[in-house]
């Protein structure tokens, strides 16, 4: 009995010590721990797959009982939303295409030029203290650690662990998540336009600023039609007036001060119950007061794990801070992280991460 207790005590001490050693090794990114994980994964995956198949009816029954009304309500809400957004989507798609063409024309990187892998979410995090999901594509599809993951709405997270045929995605709401972003602020809501009066003759016309209370009619005598495309939370595009029969055309362009101002910061997750925040925003005069609802996109850059201009969300609250410290922004994500099904992994690696052969 005493010998048994002594052996047990030794086993406990051994296991505690091995736990501490393993923590240390794993925090040092040891390859032995990674291979140990791979071996265990190879043993565990078949058991897990069997369990998934066996327990699926129970899971379906649970969701059928407890989530039915919610699904019905959500369905109604979504139908209404789809109807509202059908028109806006066509306009937005046209704008996006135009923007991509312009970026490509100027040799700037666009999302359209980055290969992507479509994957399906196959599991949530088994603990309550990790905001991760598991997807059914891994290194065999070219996925690497750090690659950005999107759904149809916008950025969802980044890859943190990769196995042969699966990978783990850390969601934006995880407290360990951090990414450099851009806040696209519109300092003023009122728009002042400049009218360029142009005749058919070769002589250039002067640029005349238009006062806010002035109308275009005072400059152009003929009847013109103005079409403005407005997408919620985005800066309206430049409005072009068609050529007039008299041979004089007018183009209205926004003043430089009216264009959206971009400022970079870092988005950080704060757990599932709280919205992510953006910090390290400069408190500059030019940037002005940040409006609630302005969009947040990825910043990109040679050291960022994400390409530029992936939509993340919009500002839901601005928390001003004293002194020169910039404000802290709370972000409402565009992607619904509670209901993820199909995701897109952008096979993007920054130049600094690329391994040259």
């Amino acid at each position: 009995m005493a010998a048994g207790q002594s052996t047990r005590r030794r086993a406990i001490i051994l296991l505690i010590l091995s736990s501490i050693i393993l923590i240390t090794l794993d925090l040092q990114n040891s390859s032995s721990v990674s291979s140990l994980r791979s071996v265990f994964g190879a043993v565990f995956r078949p058991v897990e797959s069997t369990s998934r198949v066996v327990t699926r009816p129970i899971s379906n029954a649970w969701h059928g009982i407890f989530d039915y009304n919610e699904v019905l309500d959500e369905n109604d809400r979504l139908r209404e939303k789809v109807a509202q957004q059908e028109g806006a989507t066509i306009a937005a798609a046209a704008s996006v295409r135009l923007a991509q063409e312009l970026l490509a024309l100027n040799g700037l990187p666009t999302l359209a030029g980055i290969n992507a892998v479509t994957t399906q979410v196959i599991g949530d995090s088994p603990t309550n203290f990790a905001q991760t999901v598991e997807i059914n594509q891994g290194s065999e599809s070219g996925i690497r650690v750090g690659m950005p993951v999107l759904n149809a709405a916008g950025l969802v997270g980044k890859i943190t662990k990769v196995y042969g045929d699966r990978a783990v995605v850390m969601l934006i709401t995880d407290p360990d998540f951090a990414l450099s972003i851009k806040v696209i602020n519109t300092p003023r809501l009122a728009t002042t336009t400049t009218t360029i009066a142009r005749s058919n003759s070769a002589t250039p016309s002067p640029v005349v600023p238009l006062e806010p209370n002035q109308t275009l009619d005072s400059f152009v005598s003929t009847t013109t039609t103005t079409t403005t495309t407005t997408i919620a939370r985005f800066t309206p595009s430049v409005t072009t007036l068609p050529a007039t029969p008299s041979g004089v055309s007018s183009i209205t362009v926004p003043l430089a001060s009216d264009l959206a101002v971009r400022e970079t910061g870092v988005i950080e997750g704060r757990g599932p119950a709280r919205q992510p925040t953006v910090r390290f925003i400069d408190n500059s005069l030019r940037f002005g007061d940040i409006q609630v609802g302005v969009p947040i996109v990825t910043a990109g850059g040679s050291r960022s794990l994400s390409p530029p201009d992936i939509l993340i969300g919009s500002v839901s609250r601005v928390v001003e801070r004293l002194g020169s410290a910039g404000p802290v922004l709370e972000i409402e994500l565009v992607a619904d992280l509670t209901n993820l099904s199909f995701l897109r992994v952008l096979l993007y690696q920054p130049i600094t991460e690329k391994v040259t052969p």
């Binding site: 296991l15 736990s19 393993l22 923590i23 240390t24 925090l27 369990s51 088994p126």
Partner: protein, 172 residues
């Protein structure tokens, strides 16, 4: 040969195999069914039940083994769950130690309290190794829901745990 058979038929081998199944249920069924947005923790339940049935040492050992196994599939550092689950198992064993002849409801109380503490140990350990941000008020809600779920499922867990960890004489 006899030694090998003894090892294979030992309760620790049985424990690893049972834990493999429990862990697979944790990663599939119980991570999907989330009452009030919280995933029930059946691995933790098994560990605290082991502690409440067989005492501090067995509880700690079961927790350390179960934690080591779950560490292999979590993105958190390996060794973190084994430490916290080992501590949870030991806590359950320690709670039962204070009762002279524990009845079923005393065990249930021990399971509930150890579940609450076990669920709080993990974010605390995360903070220790630098994974900040999880020690929030939400932890209390999570721990209470996990404890309630564990108390509900504990009769089944007691049966499974007794079958797994009971010492049997080998026929060899």
């Amino acid at each position: 040969m006899i030694r090998l058979l003894t090892i294979i038929s030992s309760r620790w081998t049985r424990l690893v195999l049972v834990l493999l199944i429990i862990q697979s249920l944790q990663t599939t069924l119980f991570s999907d069914l989330r009452p009030f947005g919280v995933a029930a923790q059946i691995v933790l339940l098994f560990v605290v039940v082991a502690g409440s049935l067989y005492g501090l040492a067995i509880g700690a050992l079961t927790g350390l083994i179960a934690g080591m196994m779950i560490d292999m599939i979590l993105p958190t550092p390996v060794g973190l769950s084994s430490l916290t689950l080992g501590l949870a198992g030991a806590t359950a064993g320690l709670l039962i130690y204070f009762f002279n002849q524990p009845t079923w409801w005393m065990r249930l109380i021990a399971v509930a309290v150890a579940s609450v503490l076990g669920e709080i140990y993990f974010p605390m350990a995360q903070s220790v190794v630098g994974l900040d941000g999880w020690l929030q008020l939400r932890v209390i809600k999570v721990a209470l829901i996990v404890a309630i779920c564990n108390v509900i499922i504990s009769p089944l867990a007691i049966v499974v745990c007794r079958w797994t960890l009971s010492e049997r004489k080998t026929a060899v």
